[in-house]
């Protein structure tokens, strides 16, 4: 298992390199001048030029890429253009918020999606199945910001049960969790539908398997059969997909972060791209890529834990 992780990490290094290469190609393509953005309207040409030299923007793109790369390996992602703070600090202080948001979204989608999927799979074609089917596809189809806004208007503005903005007091876990409820719902609700559909489909398949019939033949209680014998297997493809889905959640996180005025990496990257704050973009993308890979790795390891057939292969 450990060695498997090591191998995956090796692969991750290559992926990260590829991502960075892509990124630099795009930076090269996209118009806009980081120096001009950084210095504002009153700067002179000479000043802009000087900053460009300082940022290494005057050099050919491949040299910039190489420099970034070499430095990144030494843990130095450079300093961001505007405040000149180390990119590593900037990204790492935002990361926990995004992680919390995505974790919250996952919790919503797992806590609601999986039971719904199971429930509908037990009696396919029944009324419950149909209604939940329509609801879950509906939930997939509603854009997440619409959900976010309405949740906010109802629970924060009208009822005032929950806060509307921010991530909560930094020292107060309860406060932070309260602040997380609405944004994570906005991020996770679409996935509730997705998971419900997926779990339903794979449950239907697993419930046909002969070991389930054997379990029934031994008179095991239906609950045990559904949740222990069938679900542990039906969940496997879902786990892989959830790992992949993190990427998607990262992009919907931007919306939630804007609408709920939460700090976070999604918005950080978004802002950095729009302000052409390229050191920050590269650094943040690097970190999120590593994160993405790590989460996929974890997903695979979770599959390994759940599935001994895979575990022995890891």
């Amino acid at each position: 298992m450990l060695n498997y992780s090591v191998k995956r990490l090796g692969l991750a290094v290559i992926i990260v390199s590829v991502v960075m290469l892509l990124l630099f190609t795009m930076i090269y393509l996209i118009p806009g001048d980081p120096a001009a953005v950084a210095l504002g309207p009153r700067a002179t040409d000479a000043m802009r030029e000087a900053l460009r030299v300082k940022m290494g923007l005057d050099q050919p793109i491949w040299i910039q890429f190489w420099n970034f790369f070499i430095n990144a390996w030494q843990g130095d992602l450079g300093n961001e253009v505007l405040s000149d703070r180390p990119v590593t600090d900037v990204v790492l202080e935002q990361l926990p918020f995004t992680l919390a948001l995505i974790a919250g979204g996952m919790i919503w989608s797992i806590a609601l999606g999986i039971p719904l999927g199971c429930w509908t799979a037990i009696q396919p074609g029944g009324i419950v199945d149909r209604i939940i089917g329509i609801l879950s596809v509906g939930v997939i189809a509603v854009p997440s910001f619409v959900i976010a806004i309405y949740a906010l208007l109802i629970f924060a503005v009208s009822l005032r049960w929950l806060p509307a903005i921010g991530a909560g007091d930094s020292g107060d876990i309860i406060d932070q969790i309260i602040h997380l409820i609405l944004p994570s719902l906005a991020v996770g609700l679409g996935w509730v539908g997705y998971l419900a559909r997926l779990v339903r489909a794979s449950m239907l398949e697993v419930l046909e398997a002969s070991h389930i019939r054997t379990a029934r033949a031994f008179g095991l209680p239906e609950r045990l059969i559904t949740y222990r014998y069938a679900l542990t297997i039906a969940i496997l493809p879902t786990v892989t997909l959830l790992g992949v889905g993190i990427g998607q959640m990262l992009s919907s996180a931007v919306f939630a972060e804007i609408v709920f005025a939460r700090p976070g990496v999604g918005k950080l990257v978004y802002d950095a791209i729009l302000t052409r704050n390229y050191p920050l973009v590269s650094g943040a993308v690097l970190v999120t890529t590593v994160l993405f890979i790590a989460i996929n790795l974890i997903a695979d390891l979770v599959v390994g834990v759940l599935d001994p057939r895979v575990r022995s292969r890891l």
């Binding site: 398997a209 002969s210 070991h211 019939r213 054997t214 379990a215 029934r216 033949a217 031994f218 008179g219 095991l220 209680p221 045990l224 222990r228 014998y229 542990t232 297997i233 759940l306 599935d307 001994p308 057939r309 022995s312």
Partner: protein, 318 residues
Amino acid sequence: MNILEIQNLNVTFDTEDGQLRALRDVSFNVPEHRIVGIVGESGCGKSTLINSILGLLADNGQVEKGKILFEGQNLTELNSSQLRELRGVRISTVFQDPMGALNPVISVGTQMLHIQYRSSLSKSEKLDNAAEMLRRVRIPDRESALTRYPHEFSGGMKQRIAIAMAMMMEPALLIADEPTTALDATLEVATIELLQDLQQQIGCSVLFISHHLGVIAELCDDVVVMYAGEVVERGTTRQIFYRPMHPYTERLLQCDPAGQSERTRHLPTIPGEIPDLRLRTPGCIFAARCHCREDICDSTPPEVEIEGQSARCHRLVA
């Protein structure tokens, strides 16, 4: 005393192009402490039969009429929780594909624990039970075997684990559906001997399905011969093998290459095809392929019983 009595059991499947009558007026008994074998053409409804006994028919199948009396209780009238109380405790099953019968993601020990969920024993006692059962089916290194997962065992071992699980609750009836198809002769024999041993130790009855007439002959006390959803003949093993009454049984035994003393390249067969189960033809079900077919065979044949051996054939009346 019969542990299981099946009386006039009819089972149908709803399909796209009409109703399929998988079992028709099936009747036979499984007496206490005996091993009853079922043989018959593939697709004749053997697996359907045991699924109806267990109440595990596919969604599109239903018991039309008939009774399944187990220890005097009619299983077709029980609700699912009452049935569940019997399954695993009084009736245990080894399915056609024992390799796929174990849950791949739960350790063997845990699965054996789950089966004993009704018992009030402590967890360690249950585990002891499980280990003892593995010993009986001759799984080496059984303590660690309990913590291992199905894929870590060879096919033969999985098969024996499946049998151990079936025997663990010391059921009154063990059902085994072609448990030895994929095994070579040595393992097949070992499995049969194991079943016999256990049957004697526990004192249960066994319902055993196989295509291998040699295995049936060796293992079973009684034999039920099925054809196209009907029981055409039943009797003791000796009666069936030495003095078959129904033409189908007769032909089936003749077809076994093992019965051919002379080496021949051309093996005997029963010409013709299994009738379409969707079309109900009056008369003898085997008539179309029967070598001694007469006009009277177009009417429903009577059930004739001679010395406990019974068959459905007009020929026997004469």
